[in-house]
């Protein structure tokens, strides 16, 4: 089998934003539109050369996307919200058609963009298995032969003849997934279905999906759960703003997706090696997190709410006269504040080998916006011994804990806010 099982060639999908609204949704509107149409046509014709207007009203959800999938590959599609993942899956599942380009698929496709499509609350579990199964493209005979297995897998066999509306939501999801898990297509397209159910059940689903991919089936999988993507997929595609920006093995794709900022969110303040930009073997920053006045770790802070930085260090060799610093970094990588232990009367400290923990209270005068943190350990001579970058992302909100302190303006300027002492002199 040298021929790819799925070939995607320059696939594009446009949605109309502006023009769509002009198209009326009511008959009366259409009548008015029809009456107005000679004027509209005239306007359109005189605007023929004005392409800008046209482009503004069109949104390209996908633009020139090409890739191939071979039989037996498990492809993970990742990207931020709005990158075009769902649109791509909808085209591959034939729910919506592309604006241009084409996809060739050689095999029977089942797509699972949701579990339990078509479930009816008044029908029994058994009846819904048949209904949902046929919606997903199974025949009655196929379902007949797998019915026992499906019921067994769902774990709701006791209630299989009870209307589904009496089920708990967990039971419904389990039943729905049980049906989906017993599809046997050559190509399976799955969107975020693992995001349902409890942890126990998710584990079961993941196991089922692993066994599906081991049977040589081709799977296309979209998920925000990078752990699941990493463990299931062999290849990956990274989408950004409707285009493929990376196509390769799954490890590299995830690496490309997880930018510095996301990485810090992903690791919740625990330092991973990529963050460590300087290391000389004297000290190791283990963890940096932001906490509120009650010691809870937080990623969002109110306007003017004080922030404490909790730093855990591992000192390997004694450092005499150590300087510790924290830098608060803007989204544009500008250093906004430099918080150094040795300024304004502060003194360098001597660090003995072992685990050390610091809590640094910081007065929060930051403008609303997103920021990140760098932490460094330096010798008093000024040479840096340990430096970690973008270890913790946080947001300062426009709202404050007390209403009158909230930031009241539409625009935000500057990085640091102060009221100033205002005196009128005339």
């Amino acid at each position: 089998m040298t021929q790819p099982i799925i070939q995607v060639e320059q696939l594009s999908k446009a949605y109309r934003i502006g023009l769509e609204e002009k198209k009326s949704e009511t008959l009366a509107g259409v009548i008015i539109q029809t009456l107005k149409s000679p004027f509209q046509n005239f306007k359109n014709i005189s605007n023929l050369r004005d392409f800008r207007k046209e482009e503004e009203s069109i949104f390209w959800a996908l633009k020139d996307v090409s890739f191939e999938v071979n039989q037996g590959e498990v492809l993970g599609i990742i990207g931020h919200n709005g990158a075009g993942k769902s649109t791509l899956l909808k085209i591959l599942s034939r729910i919506t058609e592309p604006t241009s380009g084409r996809v060739r698929i050689h095999g029977r496709v089942s797509s699972l963009l949701e579990v339990g499509t078509g479930f009816h609350p008044d029908l029994s579990g058994r009846e819904n298995i048949y209904l949902n199964g046929t919606i997903l493209g199974m025949t009655k005979r196929e379902i007949d032969s797998k019915l026992e297995e499906i019921i067994e897998f769902s774990g709701v066999s006791k209630y299989i003849d009870t209307p589904v509306k009496r089920y708990s939501s967990g039971m419904t999801v389990r039943l729905a997934f049980a049906v989906a898990a017993h599809l046997e297509p050559e190509i399976l397209i799955i969107d975020e279905v693992l995001a349902v159910g409890d942890a126990e059940f998710q584990k079961k689903c993941l196991g089922k999906m692993k066994s599906v991919s081991k049977q040589g089936r081709t799977v296309i999988f979209v998920s925000h759960n990078l752990g699941a993507v990493r463990s299931l997929c062999t290849k990956g595609i990274l989408l950004k703003a409707g285009t493929v920006i990376f196509n390769g093995n799954i490890q590299d794709t995830i690496q490309g997706y997880v930018s510095k900022k996301d990485r810090s969110l992903l690791h919740k303040g625990t330092i991973v090696e990529e963050m460590r930009t300087i290391h000389h073997g004297f000290a190791k920053v283990k963890q940096v997190i932001l906490v509120d006045e009650y010691g809870n770790s937080r990623e969002d802070f109110f306007y003017q709410e004080d922030i404490s930085v909790s730093i855990k260090l591992e000192i390997i060799h004694e450092i005499a006269d150590a300087l510790l610093d924290i830098r608060i970094i803007s989204e544009e990588s500008v250093v906004i504040e430099h918080i150094l232990n040795s300024i304004l009367g502060g003194k360098p400290i001597t660090l003995q080998p072992g685990s050390k923990e610091f809590l640094v209270k910081v007065k929060n005068r930051l403008a609303p916006g997103s920021y990140s943190i760098n932490v460094g350990v330096h010798a008093s001579a000024g040479n840096t011994l340990e430096y970690v970058e973008d270890v913790y992302s946080f947001t300062v909100l426009k709202a404050s804990q007390e209403d009158e302190l909230s930031y009241a303006h539409e625009f935000v300027d500057g990085y640091v806010h102060q009221k100033g002492e205002w005196q009128q002199l005339n």
Binding site: I5, Y15, E25, T26, L27, A28, V30, K90, I91, L92, S93, R94, I95, T96, E97, P98, T99, S100, G101, R102, V103, R104, I105, H106, G107, R108, V109, S111, L113, E114, T117, G118, H120, D122, L123, E127, Y130, L131, T134, I135, L136, G137, M138, T139, K140, P163, E186
Partner: protein, 276 residues
């Protein structure tokens, strides 16, 4: 090779597509279960259940018999008015029920439209099928009424299957058309209920065909249900002769509606998921 059998190409389709019958056959099980679903769901958790399919037309007939037969003294061509109006109602109820159900079938299943691929035509088709249950029950009640009134059908009963075919044809074409339009124009949903009422009085349900002056008959027969309702009554009760001319004109309307409906449906079908 098994896989080759399922090879597909996904690309922008031209506006004119012929309905893929093979695909609908492949999804016949879905059609079956969807029909079952709407039948079961319709009468779920009601005490009388399917009994409503008997009671509803019976009560309508009762009211018609009092108002039109008793008070307005409409000529029912020698047939007891109850039988006369019930025969009209059985055919009419199928048409109006199927039409309102089918035209709403896409909108009430938007979840399915936006999450799964299947031939969209299956949805209005399942409405047409699920409504045949009520139709069959209506026919049984009709038969019982005829026994009660000691009314014997004539040889014209032989035409009955043909009339049922024309009834399905009329319902199918318009259903498909309205279903496709209803996705884009919500007006269809609101307008349909009173248009159906107007259409009912524009068909010989409560009065006989002969009540319409001869010079208007050709125009009148454009409503496909004129020929069907009158033909239905003629074949079951056998009192008047079969209205062949009206059936002919009505069939042309039905066929045109079907062709146009399928054209519009296949043209709009691919945008359903984007519009709903």
């Amino acid at each position: 090779m098994e896989a080759e059998r399922y090879s597909i190409t996904i690309e922008k389709k031209s506006n004119f597509q012929i309905v893929n019958l093979k695909e609908i056959v492949a999804y016949k099980d879905l059609l079956y279960f969807l029909s079952i679903r709407s039948i079961k769901a319709r009468y779920a958790q009601s005490v009388l259940g399917i009994g409503w399919a008997v009671l509803q037309p019976l009560f309508t007939m009762l009211i018609f018999t009092i108002v039109f037969g008793g008070l307005a003294k409409i000529n029912s061509e020698g047939v007891p008015y109850a039988l006369f109006s019930f025969s009209g109602l059985v055919a009419w109820n199928y048409f109006s029920g199927a039409l309102s159900d089918a035209s709403n079938s896409l909108l009430s299943n938007t979840g399915m439209l936006s999450k799964v691929y299947f031939p969209r035509l299956v949805l209005p088709l399942s409405s047409l099928i699920s409504k045949t249950i009520d139709f069959v029950i209506g026919l049984i009640v009709m038969a019982l009424l005829m026994v009660g009134y000691k009314f014997m059908p004539t040889a014209q009963l032989l035409y009955f299957p043909f009339i049922v075919f024309l009834l399905l044809l009329a319902s199918f074409g318009l259903s498909v058309l309205l279903a496709a339009w209803s996705v884009q124009f919500r007006d269809v949903k609101y307008a349909l209920s009173f248009i159906l009422q107007i259409l009912m009085y524009a068909a010989p349900v409560v009065y006989p065909l002969s009540a319409v002056p001869e010079k208007y008959r050709l125009l009148y027969a454009i409503n496909p249900m004129v020929g069907v309702v009158e033909g239905f009554r003629a074949s079951i009760l056998g009192v008047n002769s079969m209205p062949w001319r009206e059936l002919g004109i009505g069939s042309i309307t039905s066929l045109l509606a079907l062709v146009f409906g399928l054209y519009i449906f296949s043209k709009l079908e691919k945008t359903f998921a984007d519009v709903v």
